[in-house]
């Protein structure tokens, strides 16, 4: 029996849409504020009364998943948090899923940020994902946080040939020379994979232009949905996989839970947020139909006059 808390808002939404459709047939346009109310209810309902849907990884997501899955354990991955709090709801789930997957496969991760705001969001992943899920891992041995460096593309220009020149120590002041992960890593060329999560500038495109392509290092990208189309020209050669928006995050979480059952019960914010996205998309599509009906009815009315 479906939850009453879910049914009432859904009935209200669809009932309201039908009412607006009837008005549209009479040539009446919908006011902007009415649209906002419908979107509010459509987004709030699945958040308050969780609705989740099954997700299957599309090839562009699966390729990245398979690459991390098939890297030999102990491979070194560089992960850059290049986003701010505004983008966090969309890309933080991806960052968490990628970190979980990499550490489950026993890869070593070097965390860094090109955005000043990325540091606190990286701390969020370390505190609320890595420490609880992997309590046996040691900072400085299994993963390293080298923190934020100002300079945007200037930073990339340096680390592509000399990582320690730009990051001589980690955030705790420990010299990278004394960290075992960096025994085999002198520059970005020595990483087995670079993961960049973000979408602004500097972001995945800059990573491809300044590091991935010149140094021939594969790049995996987790980006906001609006940025994903910009990366398709680089897929699959320079960018081996793209997680685009909440859907990309949901697909990756789904794939992770299926492949590694220990994550079956993990928090899946990507999958959870697909509920509001799905319902919002349905409402937007309904409004597009209503808008076109109102437009054609209005045009016919004007022609008649």
């Amino acid at each position: 029996m479906p939850d009453v808390g879910v049914m009432v808002p859904l009935v209200a939404i669809f009932g309201g849409l039908i009412w607006l459709l009837v008005r549209a047939i009479r040539g009446r346009e919908v006011e902007r504020r009415v649209i906002f109310i419908f979107i509010f209810v459509a987004v709030a309902t699945p958040i308050l009364f969780p609705i989740t849907f099954q997700e299957h990884a599309t090839p562009v997501v699966k390729d990245l998943f398979d690459r991390i899955e098939n890297l030999p354990p102990g491979s070194t991955i560089l992960m850059s948090f290049d986003f701010d709090p505004a983008m966090a709801p969309e890309v933080q789930p991806m960052a968490n899923a990628l970190a979980r997957h990499s550490l489950t496969r026993e890869h070593k991760i070097v965390f860094m940020c090109l955005w000043a705001t990325g540091q606190s969001l990286l701390n969020t992943t370390l505190e609320y994902v890595i420490k609880p899920d992997f309590p046996h891992l040691v900072d400085g041995v299994d993963f390293v946080n080298v923190g934020y460096k100002a300079g945007n593309e200037g930073v990339l220009n340096v680390i592509v040939s000399d990582f320690k020149k730009m990051f001589p120590t980690d955030v705790n002041g420990v010299p990278l020379d004394s960290i075992e992960i960096f025994d085999k890593v002198g520059s970005c060329r020595d990483f087995d994979l670079i993961l960049t999560v973000g979408g602004g500038r500097p972001g995945p495109k800059e990573w491809v232009l300044f590091v991935g392509d010149p140094a021939n290092v594969p790049i995996g990208a987790g980006v906001a949905a609006v940025v994903a189309p910009q990366l398709y020209p680089y897929y699959p050669r320079q960018v081996i996989g793209i997680l685009g928006g909440i859907k990309g995050a949901a697909e990756y979480e789904s794939e992770l839970a299926q492949t590694h059952p220990r994550f079956e019960d993990m928090e899946k914010p990507g999958l959870r947020m697909m509920g509001p996205q799905t319902l919002a998309h349905v409402v937007i599509m309904a409004f597009i139909v209503i808008g076109n009906i109102a437009f054609f009815r209005g045009r016919r009315g004007r022609k008649t006059e």
Binding site: E153, T278, I284, F295
Partner: protein, 225 residues
């Protein structure tokens, strides 16, 4: 003279940077100039911050319209400045990172700036709906194509897209909505994006040449006859 100095600097730096791409001993110049620009921009913070203070103090002093909000601006400015400069609440001494967890700066950032930024970003959900309602009208052939593509992409980004077209046989898998959505993104959309990017690249080259050669100088002021 007022324009001659900046134009000369623009010409010299621009030419050097172009040449440095082809002359390895000059290869580090781009990095150096980028760092120099960052340093100059940091000094310019004083100009911007000073302007912000002047405007709001003036508004407050003269009790102009909405002067109450200027109090909020000035209080926020002073609080974050003090928290960052004096490392209030930082674990450790004044040399610790300004955004160290537990510091006042970090707490305010995490509790105020982050939620406010997310709130503004969330406005996009509402504005996408209102913009879609207004923009996706089948007024002509191109608009109709846009409308159809938008529908397919919207459906493809939800599980309903797969549900609706699961019955399509594998030999026609492209007609399944999620695959069709990916095809639209990968083929016509990508072709258009690449064309725009080529045009942008050429536009940047042309604009840069105009700037370097001093043909374009209106950004310096004084050339708007």
């Amino acid at each position: 003279m007022r324009q001659l100095v900046p134009l000369t600097i623009t010409f010299c730096v621009g030419t050097l940077l172009i040449v440095s791409v082809f002359i390895p001993p000059l290869g580090d110049l781009e990095r150096t100039f980028t760092l120099w620009f960052d340093i100059i921009a940091v000094f310019a913070f004083f100009l911007g911050g000073g302007n912000l203070l002047r405007v709001h103090i003036n508004k407050l002093w003269r009790r102009k319209k909405d002067w109450g909000f200027s109090i909020v601006t000035l209080a926020g400015f002073a609080t974050m400045l003090a928290a960052g400069l004096f490392k209030i609440g930082n674990p450790g001494d004044i040399a610790t990172a300004v955004d160290a967890p537990g510091s006042m700066f970090y707490t305010i950032f995490d509790s105020v700036v982050v939620p406010l930024g997310s709130t503004m970003y969330s406005l996009l959900a509402f504005f996408v709906a209102s913009a879609s309602y207004r923009a996706f009208r089948a007024k002509n052939r191109e608009a109709t194509l846009l409308l159809l593509a938008a529908f397919i992409i919207l459906l493809g980004r939800t599980p309903f897209g797969l549900m609706l077209t699961e019955w399509v046989p594998d030999s026609f898998s492209l007609l399944q909505i999620p695959n069709l959505a990916i095809w639209i993104m990968n083929s016509p959309n990508l072709a258009g994006q690449r064309a725009i990017m080529i045009g942008i690249g050429l536009g940047v080259v042309s604009m840069s040449l105009r700037l370097i050669l001093g043909i374009e100088r209106s950004y310096l002021g004084g050339d708007n006859a």
